[in-house]
Amino acid sequence: MYLSRRFALGCVLAAVIGTVCSAQAASRLPGELSWTIGSDPRTFDPAKVDDQWSELVRYLTAGVLVRFNRLTQSVEPALAESWSQSADGKTVRFRLRAGLQFSSGASLTSRDAAWSIRRVLLPATGAPVAEEFLTPDKVTVETPDSRTVVVHLPARVIGIGKVFDEIAIEPADHPSEGRVTAGPFVIADYQRLRYIRLTRNPHYFGRDRSEAALPYASGIRLDILQDPEQQVRLFLRGDYDFIDNLPPDYFEMLKRRDPSLVRDLGPSLNTEQLWFNQAPSAPLPQWEKLWFQSRVFRTAISLAIHRADLARLAYEGHATPAYAFISPANVTWYDRNIEVPHEDVNAARSALARAGFHLRGSQLQDADGHPVKFSILTNAGNAARLKMATLIQQDLSALGMQVTVVTLDFPALIERLMHTQDYEACLLGLANVDPDPNAMMNLWLSSSPNHQWNPSEKKPATAWEAEIDRLMQLQASTSNQIKREAAMDRVQQIVADQQPFIYLVYPNILFAVSPRLEGVHPAVLAPRLAWNADRLRLRGMQ
């Protein structure tokens, strides 16, 4: 009697659990592509784009005069059927295609293009892309006729074609925040923290080889989702068409399931590096500043780190050991001939000994008897970086150094790096979205706030930093490719000699693609899989 009561109760329990179960539903429109983004875009105003996801939405919706092809890395006509630059580089002329229209059906003329460019240049707009013009207030725009736009620059701008890739042409006097566009898609719906829905622009100028209208897809749904576990599950269920930046462990899991689902494109343009705080104003003990400012100390650290292990264990083999700031994926600027310090623990020990460091038991001390102890900061939530930091901790213990690994959430980390300078060493990555070294000016110029190891220097603290400043300015001021490459080769060699950044790995480009998705030609540059979104379609879709 008593047992049967319990049994009955158990059945009720099972029934309750069973009825509570519910699967997650997905809603997708026919012919619609779908993938995820990490967070809400900050803005839909294409002139004010200042974050990664706003940039993606702009890329997918904006009509631009010329497009920087992410695959071939060349500038191609877009709304402009042709463009030219004068010999001195100060005049850029665009000839618009005939019969252009916005998504609303209104005509697109040179007046709209001129208005959009002027709006971007206005200080009140605060457009980040305006800085690319160097002196935006001195730029003028003319429209000799309804299909011609002439831009007069006060000075040559290297890579000016790519700059116009970021200027969306909007209806004159009526900025629409992506609701009226000349690009392949138009923003149709936005639910904060949930998704952004784009629909096909029926008046898009693009045509494929058989003159069929582009884009092929009826629309795109960008779900706002960070959790990789959910992304993978929903991808396998068919809710998403691809996953970019796939973590290495999920890559292997999907590969075991079906190797055709995943691709490893090889090294990306991105780097993962470790650097020491060399700022004289940092709130650190003086002896620590002396260590970190010492080339011998930094080089010894670099010699002791086993980069092959970092690539193999932290990235499950999906990374390439790095010794320089330009990745081999950047074929134009990568210098194979620079001399870099390779792993050699004995050489590291000898170098430290010559610099006055000595072992007391198993603890390394400097010449004044201070034990060599420091912390490595990295951001929380990145398993690969935490593994790298733990591996480096072990590598440096072979030298007798005691390293503490600290993970912080990103805002707290930024405060220490950019505001208080209260850190000793940091392990972070750098996402290089542009192969041209001009995009790295703010990283290498000693006066820049983003000159990570010693920001905002009033004058270069060392001769080698002064030399880097000179070389970076040189390559930014000439269009002579040979001179530019020579300058950048020299910068790479200086960085390899001085090790302000100890480069660790170039993470590989890992992604998963649904077998239903056609037209995928992944590129090294972002948006890697969606750079040709107008030509992507689902199998079976006309």
């Binding site: 576990e229 993978v232 599950r233 973590p247 462990d249 999920y250 292997e252 899991m253 075991r256 086993h306 292990d309 193999r312 264990l313 102890k373 420091f374 912390s375 900061l377 929380a380 939530g381 935490l386 593994k387 930091a389 733990t390 591996l391 901790q393 072990q394 503490t404 690994v405 600290v406 993970t407 912080l408 959430d409 707290a412 209260d422 850190y423 000793e424």
Partner: protein, 262 residues
Amino acid sequence: MTVRRIAAGLLIGLLLAAALILAAPGSSYSHQDRSQPFAGASTAHPAGTDALGRDRMVRVSAALLLSLAGSLAASAVTTAAAAGAGVLGAFGPAGCGWFVVLVCDVFLALPWLFLLMMVRSVLPLTTSPADSAAITFLVLAALGWPACARAVYRGALRLKRSGWMLQARAAGLHPHQVARAAIPNLAPLLLPQFLVCIPAFIIAEANLGALGLGIGEPLPSWGGMLLELDDSAMLLETRWVYLPILLLVVVLLLLEAVAVEV
């Protein structure tokens, strides 16, 4: 032998086994055998290795001792604080109860996550992993008491109005004597609180790693091992990833059997 004694014996046996594994010659929780990440069971590594080639058996043993000690201490402190606050509110001077409940309500609503961030910002970055672990459990103990304190307060109030308590007070017992008599009667509230806090603190310690607190590398964290279970890629990599959670369930059941009051 009673169930309680058997459970206590098993628990002590488990802890001793963990200590012996840790103390065995050649065992190290931080040594990385980099040629054997995610290795299966072998004579060298009976429970296999983790992603960095570290012996899983040694790490789990170290994590068990470290995290259990920390969470037991923190749970004891937080339960004692809840008991103290609740009993003080019920048996203390007039208005004390009102104040205790007010403090609990405010405490429960505030986003203490930011206090934890402040604690991290005040600590030196070179705080050792063991010190960081101790501070983390201390902070958790300081923050975990209000929810239960309210329930204890209500329970103590009911006791105060019960027949035997009224008789005791009428017989002239001092308030502190009365409070001491009340505490064992609050065991049905306090013991579950103590037992529920143990796994909660173990997992919370691992989550606090995102704020720079918690048990730092290379010390093993039991909570960190449990959090590996949320990675399906890890679940498919090796079955040994389930070892920490199985051990935790066993420990919780043994503690439940030991902490029985009837």
